[in-house]
């Protein structure tokens, strides 16, 4: 490791951002890079632990201590090689990952974690800048054909791994652009889309073929693919949103987040969006306190909402977790996203009772306060409504961001007839990634349920390994 006492000498420094008032004026990313010197110093804080908990905290098992050290020593090119050995798309995770690695950083026990995410971000940006990211073209072709259905992070990771080992890979995407959730779920101010495009160039050069507006199960018959390809990977994500069936749900102005966010991304990409659903001049209520909720907040603010309020059903988490009991796991604690910083009201332990409207148009939202307590018998948290706590707030636009229950089960899944697990996801284990149907594999949210991009990448990589082994009898791909 670079500096034995680095963690004692250097404070954690995170990159600054443009102030909210300025950044809400546009849709670009707004974080300000650290100087190279400062960043390398941040690398010196890494203690090169005998057991790097960060590595297991990270779903793709990034070999974090190794590249922290390389960064400290300014050996950027080796750092990106190490980084790429576990992660196909560090430019995505370096921006939008919540960084469970930092939660499990040993320094996080009683101090402040290494800025792992920012270091990752910088390594890969530097690599692109310097032209170190090049296609890795398979030396031999295997002649095997694999179709990947869904071009989100899981599908892309799987496709890249398979292409590099010599298989012919075709990606089917129902939308007009490749990238899935990366493209249309995540606002540009969190991750600009040209990052995806340049990665796609690399994949293309490595031999991956992209077919957009091919909605397998709708306009492409899944059985045909099964006949044509040696293996199919289902990586269509978990797109069935959780609904809120309360009175007034049908009113105009109550929308799922995923009806709202993609339109803005398309617009930023230059598309014409007739009748775009916008928050401009509206009182917006976002229901759901997660990442998607935040994305709705940030987008609404940029669109010029009159007010933005965000409700969360769960109680307000503590400011600081009990680290001796939570570390190295992801702790529940109060977090404020950059979008929330940009100006929104947050309220916790709020249950929505009804949407109230006039003329079919949403006007108000009625909610009450709830209380959470642990059931002494089952040990599970139980919710009770607090009597007399009912209140109403004005609302012109309600965005439902309460998560996704499982993949869309009609169409593709139905046609293939793959078995589903108890939660309605495609059933497959994390060794073989095989579904109940021969030759059909599944990875990412479609298999594991809604999750992080970094998990999708992990599953895509591991699934590729399983597919390679299935096709070839053995595999050299890493897990």
């Amino acid at each position: 490791m670079g500096k034995v006492t680095g963690f004692l000498e250097v404070e954690r420094v995170e990159p600054a951002s443009l102030p909210p008032a300025e950044r809400v004026k546009f849709y670009r990313e707004f974080s300000l890079d650290l100087s190279e010197k400062d960043l390398r110093n941040q690398g010196s804080r890494c203690m090169d632990c005998g057991i790097p908990f960060c590595q297991t905290g990270c779903p793709v098992n990034n070999i974090i201590p190794d590249w922290n050290d390389l960064v400290y020593h300014g050996r950027w090119q080796e750092a990106v090689e190490t980084l790429h050995s576990t992660n196909n798309f560090p430019e995505f995770t370096g921006r939008i990952c919540p960084a469970p690695c930092e939660a499990s950083c040993v320094l996080n026990i009683n101090s402040k974690a290494v800025t792992i995410k920012n270091i990752e971000h910088t390594i890969i940006d530097k690599a692109w800048e310097n032209g170190w990211v090049k296609p890795i073209i398979a030396p031999h072709k295997t002649g095997k054909k694999v179709a990947v259905i869904g071009s989100g992070p899981a599908g892309l990771a799987a496709a890249q791994q398979l292409a590099r080992t010599g298989h012919d890979v075709v990606i089917y995407e129902k939308n007009d652009r490749i990238g899935g959730l990366l493209r249309y779920g995540i606002p540009d101010f969190k991750m600009e889309k040209h990052l995806i495009d340049r990665r796609l160039e690399q994949l293309r050069a490595e031999g991956v073929e992209f077919r957009t507006q091919q909605h397998v199960g709708v306009n492409v018959n899944a059985q045909d693919l099964l006949a044509e390809y040696d293996a199919l990977i289902l990586s269509g994500g978990s797109e069935h949103p959780r609904d809120l069936p309360v009175p007034g749900r049908e009113l105009e102005g109550v929308h799922f987040a995923m009806n709202f966010l993609p339109q803005q991304n398309k617009r930023v990409a230059g598309d014409e969006i007739p009748n775009q659903l916008t928050a401009h001049g509206k009182h917006v209520v976002v229901i759901g306190g997660g990442d998607t909720g935040s994305d709705c907040v940030g987008t609404s603010i940029r669109q010029g909402a009159l007010s933005v309020t965000q409700f969360e059903l769960m109680s307000r988490p503590p400011e600081e977790e009990n680290r001796p009991l939570t570390w190295p796991n992801w702790p529940m604690r109060l977090r404020t996203s950059s979008s929330q910083e940009e100006g929104c009201e947050r309220d916790w332990a709020v249950g929505t009772k009804a949407f109230l409207g006039e003329n079919g148009k949403l006007k108000k939202l009625r909610a009450n306060r709830v209380d959470w307590s642990k059931d002494p018998v089952s040990g599970q948290m139980k919710m009770t409504e607090i009597a007399g706590s009912e209140f109403e707030i004005p609302a012109d636009l309600v965005l439902l961001a309460m998560g996704y229950v499982h993949p869309v089960q009609t169409g593709l899944l139905q046609q293939l007839g793959v078995s589903l697990d108890g939660r309605g996801n495609v059933s497959a284990n994390t060794d073989s990634y095989q579904t109940s149907v021969a030759k059909v594999f599944s990875a990412g949210d479609m298999r594991r349920g809604q999750s992080l991009v970094v998990w999708a990448i992990r599953e895509g990589r591991q699934c590729a390994r399983a597919v390679d082994e299935f096709l070839m009898g053995s595999t050299n791909l890493p897990r």
């Binding site: 090169d48 005998g50 057991i51 590595q55 297991t56 070999i63 026990i109 796991n329 050299n476």
Partner: protein
């Protein structure tokens, strides 16, 4: 040869691990005057050495004793006359002392064989005589195996020219009879043995106690039995299977010590079989083979070798110098001729290395020699009438003091020889001078000696491997990223081996899923108890890495005028240039040497069969090349490529080495290994241990060349390689020294390893003689490992396309090696103990116990049987009781913070378990209970080699006193606490100076043997009779035998540690490759103790990566009563296995002394208690399933263990644990656990009288005067009294001189040990070893009796290792002290009139004044304190080790300041800074004169102004710096506030 009564190999017990040590002595009349008195005196010596022997379970069964005398001609003449045959003149007949089978028919068969051989060798059988014995006093176990003892009489044949030839013939006859009896395979063949067969000497010996020799052999009582010399020996065997034949003396020697390199020595003797020829022996030479029988003791084998050399024509003394040479290589003081003598002979014979005091005789001369380290005591006295007495200690014979004219000692490497025919003593100088001038050795050397480094460079370059990239080849040899990062980079950058911390929690090689290099199946052996490790840094002068590459000269070419050329290297790691010289050696030496290169690669697609074929071919080729006259064989794996895979270099080396040994050609050629595989110290050690005389690690050098920026920018490749070689060399010295081996030549081929995970077929074929106890993989799997690596190297796998395998051995990596401590297991354990959740604990335990996906430990493959009807959990012994069996491991304050240390102590005290101080003392504040009712007192007080903080007060505040013989992470090695870690607090507890580094020596300097250990146990028991004395050992093959010895040495408790235990800092190769798992060591210990009936006396504890209840249960079933945990409780306290303990940066405040980091410590006693109760609860669940209600029932029930079924692991499936689960069949009622107490014999201590007499002082501080007499049997005088003082008055003790004891006589060992403040011992007489050990404030004064005519300053007054670990106090000795005077002195003041070698070694404080000669290596490792040495000859600087000290004059001081600080009481000796040196020195000499009446002191004082300039002040550099800092601080007024 089978030994009488030695049980056969069974389970893990193997008789080959027997060790012994002992008391040895002789008495002789130098004028050759024979008398019966000498026989009686010999027997008397034996009786007075009784405490150096031991008894086993049967109190009447000794370990063996005997006596060697000159041929008692008239006695025998009388007795044979009565039998009807008469003897020719003395010298013309020989007598054999013969042990025969009791069975008359078998006896006759043997006797007939004798008759036949006597006749065939042209001699005359005169007759037989029954030796009359009285066996009434023998124990039952001894009687059962008593042989029929007869003497055979043989007359010199007509064709035998002279007595010398006759002796040779008798030797030949004996060997032929021995071989003949072995071939006969008699039922009682094991009873047969020939103690002596000579025309000059006769031996009486047996499985006897010391006093029984004279009682058993009636002959010895006969007044007509006369001799001019009597050589006696009393044995202390580790096991209680002593046998009649293993008793000493042997035919020519009696030995106190141990030959560490035995395996190699025996192999090398066998190896030269065909290269030997002898003028003296002629064709008879062939009849002697096998010269050394397999399975003999080291001493017996040594005796065989000596016999051969003498028979071959060497004079006795010369033969001894061949076998046990002085340390000549690193000795600048040795004169040229003598050095040439040794250097010349070095090529003939590798040293028989190990601690040894050997007394030898051929009946005409008698003498003794000491090994180069001087690790055994040997003192002698000469009387006016010419009687010389030599013995391990003095006081064994009472000569009137007025008759004694010389008292001296044998010095390291020196020899004492008495020629009875010439009637004089030949001292070492004369003897060696005569030997050295016998031949023109310097000329011969100049003519024959070729040093590789001095040869001109070779013209050609190394062949480049163009077919494979560096990465491919690195991968083919299994290089990992960690090899480069953790191992090679520090070596190449700094010339040092890398340091790491915490233990090894990765799987053994055989359990790993990854292909591992063959090296990793070999575990380094190390010295513990029966022989000491060496300090290769501080005692470098005895070490040598010189290696001979070419053929060895004919050992028996005694009088050659035409010596053979020899090729040598100063160390065995060949640089690129050196290797090219070897390749071109033919040209460079004009054909004297011819090298040939054999490839050890095989076709990768030919698989395991192909590898085997290639191996055979290499062996055959080597044989034929030697036949063709090539005398340097190079085994090379350079040809590795996509199609060719390398045979593991270790396998190829061992195979070729053994093949050449077996064909008797090995000494005709040197073996050089050119391999890509060797990259860390352990690899080189393995290659050396299996026969490589030199090693060229070409790929390591290439790798270093490719490291680029990882190395300092200005480091040239040549220099980096040089540093790498230096690091390997240092590492080799360390590996050798941890076994106590000093020379590479002896280490080479000595096979100081045990194999773990290799099957016996494979081992016996290629690594013959190596122990392997759990079976495992064979050739097929070894080949598979090679081929897997080869496939990785040449595949397209993305992970390996651009980079090496991550490794993951030293730091956890997802893609790396498996570990027991993982993020999951650590976080589960911490969570469970912090929340008190047993269910979370069970998730943790499951992760550790089941090892479902990755095998981690041997015990992971065990199955615990269940009974059909388990008992209810409620009926099982409570957890509250079980936790009392738990202890935390020895972790010193220093290695961990006070907070972590005391939290453990509080937790253990609350639950009735025990915590351990570790090395380094304990703050006396902790001895008193806290206000809360808790206690921070550690129940176990460790006594380690450094003896830091081991005060009498510390010892009396203990429940257990643990003697740390070894530590799992680095057995056989010392330690070092660097100065920056010695804070004021730590310094206070360790009685040292803040900021001054503290070195712990590898050995305890008072334990070089088993009887020394018994002595230390006795010492500690005296100080604190209520405490259990424990001995901590580390698991290795043979540890069971050592444990048996420990039990016989009266330890109450023994700990068997696994190799995998933690450490605060250790070389990485030691963490990984030394020692074995506790499953093996514990099982061997249990089996051996039970087999010996010694188990009941001793409590057995197991530790090493103990983590769960299942671990405890398995240890209990294998025989443990108690259990130690170290890492797991640390993890509970917050440790997250940073493995950075050695860097002082522990981020959780545990392994650090940094106050900022300590603030982060979050451990709580409650968490620790939760952990131990969880473990106990888990234990109870297993007990219920096994049907055990009490823990005691479970101990030793290995029958409840089985091998886990269905393990299909490609390597582990070959393991066989039957030897671990073995239970020896023993008589009913034999205890399997600790049930009894040891008898320490404390009731006999003189101290009881002292304590009674000192009552007024002890109770009321009233001064008392006591007088008493003393003799050598009265050991540890004053310690028990001191314990009483310390119990009452702590370390401060009583006022000066409150108890004054006047003693006269020759004191036994450890006189004044741990003497407390307020006690003065004044001894008129002399003392043996260990005077003032651990001196804790008392005063010791020793001077010779006034009637003794010797000149005190030229005679010895005290023995070796005086004032070892002294804390403070004073000592004045009128006379010379032995070796290692004031070693590890922390603060005592001493005046002495001369010292032996290694004076003031490792000293950290105090003042030593030497008023005479000092030996070599003075002040080695001395970091503190000051010595003033009178250097009249002006040559002291040559004998002083100047690595850490500077020499300066003692500044004259005019003003006499008021000095109340003459006695240092742990205070900072600011006086040492130079302002008051002369005052101090003068006062001490005045004290000396006053207390001892020293005339020497008087003379010096009388001529003070003239003498003062002749004193040299020895000043440690670090100490001076620290004193200056303290003085500055003091001046700034900070001192008093900060030192608290």
């Amino acid at each position: 040869m089978n030994h009488l009564t030695l049980p056969p190999k069974q389970g893990l017990y193997d008789p080959k691990h027997e060790h012994d040590a002992c008391g040895v002595g002789f008495v002789a009349n130098i004028h050759g005057k024979k008398s019966h008195q000498l026989v009686e005196q010999g027997l008397k010596i034996l009786e007075n050495l009784t405490h150096r022997g031991a008894v086993g379970a049967d109190p009447l069964a000794g370990d063996g004793a005997g006596i060697l005398i000159q041929m008692p001609d008239s006695f025998l003449r009388d007795h044979t006359q009565k039998l009807g045959f008469s003897l020719p003149p003395a010298g013309e007949y020989g007598v054999g002392s013969v042990f025969l089978p009791q069975d008359p028919i078998e006896r006759q068969t043997v006797e007939k064989l004798f008759a036949q051989m006597v006749q065939e060798e042209g001699q005359t059988l005169l007759g037989w005589r029954d030796v009359p014995v009285d066996s009434s006093g023998l124990g039952e176990s001894v009687k059962k195996v008593e042989p029929f003892i007869r003497q055979i009489f043989v007359g010199r044949g007509a064709t035998t020219a002279d007595q010398q030839s006759f002796e040779r013939k008798l030797f030949v006859i004996r060997k032929r009879v021995e071989h003949g009896v072995t071939a006969l395979e008699l039922n009682q063949g094991s009873m047969f043995y020939v103690p002596s067969f000579s025309s000059r000497t006769l031996i009486y010996k047996g499985m006897l106690l010391a006093h029984q020799v004279g009682e058993f052999y009636l002959d010895l009582r006969d007044p007509s039995m006369v001799t001019a010399l009597a050589l006696v020996h009393q044995r202390f065997s580790t096991n209680t299977f002593p046998t009649w034949d293993l008793a000493h003396p042997f035919r020519m020697i009696a030995h106190n010590g141990e030959i560490n390199t035995l395996r190699g020595n025996v192999n090398w003797m066998a190896a030269r079989r065909h290269a030997l020829s002898s003028v003296a022996l002629g064709d008879d030479l062939k009849k002697l083979w096998p010269l050394i029988d397999e399975g003999q003791s080291d001493s017996a084998s040594f005796d065989n070798a000596l016999e051969l050399l003498v028979a071959g024509g060497y004079p006795l003394a010369q033969a001894m110098t061949l076998l046990i040479p002085e340390a000549w290589a690193g000795n600048p003081l040795m004169d040229e001729e003598r050095r040439a003598y040794y250097e010349y002979h070095a090529a003939l014979m590798e040293p028989w290395d190990g601690p040894a005091a050997v007394a030898f005789t051929d009946g005409r001369q008698i003498g003794a020699t000491l090994d180069r380290n001087g690790l055994r005591p040997a003192r002698y006295q000469l009387t006016k009438d010419g009687t010389i007495l030599m013995a391990s200690e003095m006081g064994v014979l009472d000569f009137p003091q007025d008759q004694i004219i010389k008292k001296w000692r044998l010095q390291p490497g020196k020899m004492l020889l008495i020629d009875l025919e010439e009637g004089r003593i030949i001292d070492d100088a004369e003897l060696k001078r005569t030997l050295a001038q016998e031949h023109p050795y310097r000329e011969w050397l100049a003519k024959t000696q070729l040093r590789l480094e001095e040869l001109p460079p070779a013209s050609q370059q190394a062949p480049e491997n163009v077919r494979s990239t560096l990465l491919d080849r690195q991968q083919a040899f299994g290089f990992t990223q960690e090899d480069l990062k953790f191992l090679m980079t520090p070596m190449a950058a700094t010339g040092q081996e890398a340091i790491g911390s915490m233990g090894d929690d990765t799987p053994l090689a055989v359990l790993s899923n990854k292909p591992r290099p063959l090296y990793q199946y070999f575990r380094q052996l190390f010295a513990q108890v029966t022989n000491p490790p060496i300090d290769p840094i501080r005692e470098e002068l005895v070490m040598s890495l010189v290696s001979f590459l070419g053929p060895r000269p004919n050992l028996l070419a005694v009088d050659t005028q035409n010596p053979q050329p020899r090729l040598e290297v100063h160390q065995p790691v060949l640089s690129i240039e050196d290797m090219e010289k070897i390749r071109s050696i033919h040209d460079l030496t004009q054909g004297t040497f011819r090298s040939t290169e054999l490839s050890i690669c095989f076709s990768a697609n030919s698989g395991a069969k192909g590898m085997e074929t290639a191996l055979k071919a290499v062996c055959a080729e080597a044989e034929s090349k030697v036949g063709e006259g090539f005398n340097v064989i190079i085994l090379s794996d350079r040809a590795v490529s996509e199609s060719m895979a390398p045979i593991p270099a270790l396998l190829a080396t061992a195979a070729v080495h053994h093949h050449l040994v077996q064909t008797g050609l090995r000494t005709s050629a040197g073996l050089v290994i050119e391999t890509g595989s060797a990259r860390e110290v352990h690899h080189f050690a393995c290659l050396a241990g299996y026969g490589a005389e030199a090693i060229h690690p070409y790929l390591a050098f290439e790798t270093i060349g490719d490291m680029g920026e990882y190395l300092p920018a200005d480091l040239e490749h040549y220099e980096a390689c040089k540093r790498f070689i230096k690091a390997v060399s240092k590492g080799l010295l360390k590996v050798m020294s941890k076994m106590g081996i000093s020379t590479y030549q002896s280490y080479c081929g000595a096979q100081i390893f045990e194999a773990v995970g290799l099957n016996s077929e494979f081992v016996s074929h290629y690594f013959r003689g190596t122990s392997s106890n759990v079976e495992g993989i064979g050739l097929t799997e070894v080949a598979e490992e090679v081929l897997r690596l080869h496939r990785i190297a040449y595949s397209d796998a993305p992970l390996y396309r651009d980079s090496l395998d991550p490794g993951g051995d030293y730091a956890y990596r997802i893609r790396g090696e498996a570990h027991m401590w993982t993020p999951e297991s650590i976080s589960k354990l911490q969570n469970a103990t912090r929340t008190g959740s047993f269910s979370t604990y069970k998730e943790y335990a499951k992760a550790i116990n089941t090892q479902a996906t990755e095998l981690l430990t041997l015990r992971g493959l065990f199955e615990i049987r269940k009974v059909a009807e388990p008992i209810p959990l409620s009926e099982v012994e409570s957890a509250k009781e079980i936790v009392k069996r738990f202890a935390t491991g020895a972790m010193s304050l220093g290695s961990i913070s006070h907070e972590a240390h005391s939290t453990l102590a509080i937790a253990m005290n609350r639950m009735g378990g025990k915590s351990n101080t570790g090395e380094g003392g304990e703050d006396p504040i902790r001895f008193k209970p806290m206000e809360s009712g808790d206690s921070m007192r550690s129940a176990i007080k460790q006594v380690a080699a450094g003896r830091f903080g081991v005060t009498t007060e510390y010892l009396v505040n203990a429940d257990d006193l643990q003697i740390k013989m070894a530590q799992g992470a680095k057995p056989g090695e010392g330690g070092q606490l660097p100065g920056h870690k010695v804070s004021k607090y730590i310094a206070k507890i360790r009685h040292s100076v803040p900021g001054v580094g503290l070195i712990s020596p590898p050995p305890h300097h008072d334990i070089y043997s088993i009887e020394d250990l018994a002595q230390l146990i006795h010492d500690l028991k005296n100080v604190n009779p209520r405490a259990r004395v424990s001995v901590k050992l580390v698991s290795e093959v043979g540890v069971g035998t050592v444990a048996a010895g420990v039990s016989k040495a009266h330890a109450d408790h023994v700990t068997i540690s696994g190799h995998d235990g933690g450490t605060g800092a250790s070389p990485l190769s030691s963490v990984k490759f030394a020692g074995s798992p506790w499953e093996l060591g514990l099982a061997e210990t249990q089996q051996t103790l039970v087999l010996n009936q010694l188990r009941s006396r001793i409590c057995v504890q197991a530790d090493g990566q103990m983590k769960t209840g299942r671990d405890v249960v398995i240890a209990a079933l294998l025989g443990a009563d108690e259990f130690g945990f170290a890492t797991a409780p640390l993890v509970v306290q917050g440790c997250i296995m940073m493995r950075k303990c050695h860097l002082n940066t522990c981020p959780v405040g545990i392994a650090t002394q940094d106050p900022e980091l300590i603030k982060r410590f979050a451990g709580q006693p409650e968490h620790v208690i939760n952990f131990f109760f969880f473990v106990a609860e888990e234990v109870r669940e297993y007990m219920a399933q096994m049907g055990f209600r009490t823990f005691d029932e479970m101990i030793g029930r290995a029958d409840m263990l089985d091998t886990r079924q269905g393990v299909e692991h490609w390597k582990a499936k070959g393991l066989d644990f039957s030897r671990i689960f073995y239970r020896p069949s023993v008589p009913a009622g034999t205890s399997l656990r600790w049930t009894d107490r040891q008898d320490h014999g404390l009731d006999k201590a003189l101290d009881h009288t002292l304590i009674a007499a000192a009552e007024p002082a002890l109770e009321r501080k009233e001064p008392v005067q006591i007088s008493t007499t003393i003799r050598n049997l009265n050991r540890t005088f004053g310690a028990m009294l001191s314990g009483e003082v310390a119990k009452r008055y702590g370390h401060a003790g009583l006022p000066e001189d409150t108890i004054h004891v006047k003693v006269s006589g020759i004191a036994g060992q450890s006189f004044g040990a741990f003497l407390a403040h307020g006690i003065s011992l004044e001894l008129q007489g002399e003392a043996n070893d260990y005077v003032g050990k651990g001196l804790s404030g008392g005063r010791i004064v020793i001077y010779p009796p006034s009637e003794c005519p010797i000149k005190p300053e030229d005679n010895i007054i005290v023995g070796n290792t005086v004032l070892y670990g002294a804390i403070n106090g004073e000592a004045y000795f009128r006379g010379v002290a032995g070796e290692r005077f004031a070693v590890r002195n922390s603060g005592a003041t001493a005046v002495v009139e001369g010292v032996g070698d290694h004076g003031c070694e490792y000293m950290t404080g105090g003042t030593v004044v030497v008023l005479g000669q000092s030996g070599r290596n003075f002040a080695a490792g001395m970091s503190g304190g000051v010595a003033y040495v009178l250097d009249e000859a002006g040559d002291f600087a040559h004998r002083c080790n100047l690595a850490m000290v500077e020499l300066e004059p003692v500044p004259a001081e005019a003003s006499l300041t008021d000095g109340d600080e003459l006695e240092s009481h742990g205070k900072v000796d600011v006086k040492h800074l130079g302002t008051e040196d002369a005052v101090l020195l003068k006062r001490l000499i005045e004290n000396h004169a006053r207390y001892t009446g020293s005339s020497r002191a008087r003379e010096i004082l009388d001529r003070w102004n003239e003498m003062l300039p002749r004193f040299v002040k020895v000043m440690p550099m670090e100490y001076r710096r620290a004193l200056q800092e303290l003085a500055a601080e003091h001046a700034a007024g900070l001192s008093s506030a900060a030192v608290q």
